[in-house]
């Protein structure tokens, strides 16, 4: 009994600190990506702190709503932020201690991810504008293509471990670092990276820098939101990017993640997470400079490719089990 209370306390500590760290880091992450991109394009850029300044400005403004908007215009952003916060609490970014009654199972994580996507898409539809509807339908199309890849690639990683709980997968990788370089894990991580890029609306699927373009996806959905609502939508999406990037980099480089609660372990874990996110964001921004957005009808091609990679990872993991 005492032991399970201890586990619950340390799981709660890890969950809270993950939420706090990611809430602070995610806007900085976006700022870092924008700055890297600006520097590579020869511009000065707004600085790493600019997203935080934007956020403060938006939070102080009253949200203006289009005529005929329903209560969802206010509820949707809150649901998106809460789903993103739940993701932050669940994924094993700092520590692998989980609540015994609520493990960070793969299917739980993906369904929470989908909940946020649906909330965002409904916000886009709510105002009844053509742009919002187009953005939402594109977003749902991309989500529908991304989810199978995410499920399949993490499933491939879970086969050698024998558990679909993300913490167990990360623990197994900490125990056996060589497994990171196995073909199964490389294929699955490649597929997962493409899926994450598509899910968070980065290039080449969606251009995050655009604000008035017929082909935009994310911006089209938030076009009718303003003030506080817009701030929540942006924070929600940034947190998702932070969590998913953190998840991919933790799976790729599991070192630093704490397996039990100690002050030193926590400090190392936070520093490692900051370093991993910074490297991942810089790499993503650097690659993005060289990419152009693909046509929307080429997106299924990209997603089919990542699906095949995830599928190959699953077949290859049976190859390892037999061999």
């Amino acid at each position: 009994m005492n032991g399970s209370v201890g586990v619950n306390v340390s799981a709660a500590t890890f969950a809270t600190s993950q939420v706090l760290v990611l809430v602070v880091l995610s806007p900085l992450l976006i700022g870092l990506m924008r700055t890297v991109r600006a520097r590579l394009e020869g511009r000065v850029g707004g600085g790493v702190l600019q997203p935080w300044r934007d956020l403060r400005k938006l939070l102080l403004k009253e949200p203006l709503q289009a005529q005929g908007r329903s209560w969802w215009a206010m509820a949707g952003p809150v649901l998106l932020v809460s789903s993103s916060l739940a993701l932050c609490a669940l994924t094993p970014l700092l520590g692998t201690v989980t609540f015994p009654s609520l493990p960070d199972d793969l299917f739980v994580v993906v369904s929470i991810l989908l909940l946020g996507s649906v909330a965002l898409a409904l916000v886009g539809l709510d105002a009844g504008t053509a742009f919002g509807g187009m953005g939402s339908s594109r977003h749902m199309m991309i989500s529908a293509l991304v989810e199978p890849t995410v499920l399949l690639s993490v499933y491939a990683l879970s086969i050698p471990v024998g558990s679909s709980v993300l913490s167990r997968i990360v623990e197994a990788r900490l125990d056996d670092p060589a497994s990171v370089l196995s073909p199964v894990s490389l294929l699955a991580l490649l597929a997962l990276t493409i899926a994450v890029v598509a899910e968070t609306g980065r290039l080449p699927v969606d251009n995050p820098a655009t604000h008035l373009e017929l082909t935009m996806v994310h911006e089209a959905m938030v076009l009718e939101s303003s003030g506080r609502d817009l701030a929540w939508l942006e924070v929600g999406s940034w947190l998702r990017l932070g969590v998913l990037l953190g998840l991919v980099s933790t799976l790729l480089v599991p070192w630093g993640v704490a397996t039990d609660l100690t002050a030193a372990g926590m400090l190392v874990a936070v520093l490692a997470l900051v370093a991993k996110l910074a490297v991942a964001a810089t790499a993503l921004a650097t690659v993005e400079v060289a990419l152009a957005k693909v046509r929307l009808f080429r997106v299924p091609e990209l997603m089919a490719g990542s699906f095949v990679l995830a599928f190959l990872a699953v077949t290859a993991s049976y190859l390892v089990v037999q061999g």
Binding site: L187, E301, A304, G305, V308, F311, T315
Partner: protein, 220 residues
């Protein structure tokens, strides 16, 4: 070399071979195809070298050097020269089935490869035998590329993919063939590619295009 390192290196090179094969189906630009084929050649050479080190066979190491020079350097260079003269058509514009369908076909072909290699897998449980489906899958992907692409150079790439698949299966199951046989096979492949390259450029100078589907009737 310890047993676990051997298994891991073998799996890594098998995974790289399969990944290159999938990417060849995925990408449409001929330049990318040729680069991927070169990487695949090096991966195949790596596979042979790993097998050679494991079995302490100097002959296999020589074969791996041969594979690396032929499939990693010479054949890609020949293909690159075949496309270099034709900058306007450096992409496979109109494959018979679109890329999404081709990629889904790839996943089915992988399953098929696992199914058809079950008798081979039943023979042993070594790491080399477990990787045989990779070679089968590559051969099947080669057939897919051969039958769905229209550009002459694309079909040549499909043929080389098929050849790489067959070579992978041979190395994994038989532990390699004698050096003389390997030399003969390599020369054969080189000769085929050289002849087809000359033929492709002749077709292009004759008709201004290398799309084989346009050549359905005889002319004098």
């Amino acid at each position: 070399m310890s047993e676990t390192t051997y298994t891991q290196l073998l799996q890594l090179s098998a995974g790289l071979l399969l990944l290159c094969a999938v990417l060849i189906v995925w990408r449409r630009s001929l330049g990318a195809h040729i680069r991927l084929l070169a990487v695949q050649g090096w991966a195949l050479a790596g596979l042979v070298a790993v097998l050679g080190l494991h079995e302490h066979s100097a002959e296999l190491l020589w074969v791996s050097v041969l594979v690396a020079t032929l499939k990693g350097v010479v054949l890609p260079a020949v293909l690159a020269r075949a496309t270099a003269s034709d900058r306007t058509r450096a992409r496979e514009e109109t494959p018979l089935i679109n890329t999404t369908a081709a990629l889904l076909a790839v996943s089915f072909l992988t399953m098929l490869a696992y199914l058809v290699s079950r008798p081979v897998l039943a023979l042993g449980s070594t790491a080399a035998v477990a990787a045989v489906p990779v070679g089968m899958a590559m051969a099947l992907f080669g057939f897919l590329v051969l039958s769905t692409r229209r550009h002459a150079v694309s079909q040549l790439i499909g043929f080389l993919l098929l050849d790489n698949g067959i070579a992978t299966v041979a190395f994994l199951t038989a532990g390699g063939v004698p050096l003389v046989v390997e030399l003969g096979v390599s020369l054969d492949v080189l000769l085929v590619v050289l002849i087809l390259r000359v033929l492709t450029s002749r077709i292009r100078t004759e008709y201004g295009d290398a799309d084989l589907d346009d050549m359905t009737e005889l002319r004098d």
